[in-house]
Amino acid sequence: MEGRGLGEVAKRIIIAGGNIAGTIVANRLAQKLDEELNKGEVEIVVLNKSEEHVYLPGQLLMAFGLETPGELVRKERSLLDRRIKFLHGDAGTMTKIDVENRQVITADGKTHKYDYLVISTGVEYTWEEVPGYKEASLTPYEFDSALKMREALENFQGGTIVINVAKLPHRCPVAPIETTLMLDDYLRKRGLREKTRIVYTYPVEGVFARPITNKMMKGIFEQRDIEVHSPFNVTSVNPQEKIIESQEGEKIKFDMLIAVPPNQGAKVIGDSGIGDRRRWVPTDKLTLRMKNHSDVYVIGDATDLPVSKAGSTADFESYVVANNLANDIKGNLGVKHYGGDVLCYIATGTDQATYIRFSYTMNESPPPPSYIHWWGKVMYNKMYWTVTAKANI
């Protein structure tokens, strides 16, 4: 405890939320503060309701039978550096984040004081924003529903399938395109494509909101005879009659509805009064500090930044947050800035893919779809548990 005054306790860092963003940043911080952790000068605590860690991007592959449930779930404890404390259940369920008094309150009634906080509370799906939506649809965004989607596709014999994105922004922004193109390929391979009308509906003009990717994907959609209805802002769904209705006045009848539910930040962000109206936390786009709070960082889906809500974004951001927070403690690392970096593989079938890599200052340049990039996507998924989650790169 050299250099620390009498009665001074270790600096406590709370990571508010596990899963992709929380796990990577916790492990990267443990590496940056290795010596301090070993000497007991720093304590890192991860709070998360569930003790399980689900690899969300893999759920899309699972919905098409290309990944098994067991491959997508691990115990959070097994992924974290052994020196990191992990609280789950009521002990890890946050009921209030009090940034004025530097404390987090959990469902077991305990108050956790902190010196530094990393908010990685992610996204919650607010199905109730669209009446009838959840009841009528399947989604690869939820584990159980992705399994039901796999079964529904196995039994599907033809009809109309509507893919709908309820609101932007949403997590894993390319997934609706991937779902549509994988579906097309899956049905072709089963000899059902000619018996199926595929309808893609999206809240703003086009199939994707980035112009370069939109142009490329629109071309592929046209070649594959996929109907595009946009802008299409869903207002309600009738589960009995199987009709989806939009703000623009359109009504489409479907046999199967694949939905991207409305996304908001976590409920605890709203309950704590620290987010905007959709519960995203105001964040500095370069330092990733919460605005007006120098001791709080925000990472992953929880930010209000107009960057992609994707696992790769959280991974890129984790270098900045871990470095800057470690610098706040050690004072000798310098400040890093997040450049808006994102990398997303886009499956264009069940065995082909492309990718987009962009930042605040660089546009994407997606290569032609190929098996090589599909392989890259699969490997990226498989390496998650041993490399990315453990912050080994």
Partner: protein, 80 residues
Amino acid sequence: MVEMDQVKIYKELDLTSAGCAGPLGELNQVANDLKEGEAVKVILEGKESKLLVESWAKKKGFKVLDVKEEGKKYVMLIAK
């Protein structure tokens, strides 16, 4: 009619480097969430983005209360 001096800015959106939701995707939802008497302040880069947002606002029935040119950037105030 919402007047400039009466309007309360709900949120500032820096869309000079928008991600996967694109400038319109980000703006679409924030504008839908606006309440009476509120506006969203939008920062855009390039005339093309400005024209895109103006055309979107017209189609969706939002009001463009103000447009300022600051170098290559445009600062717009948009209300319901």
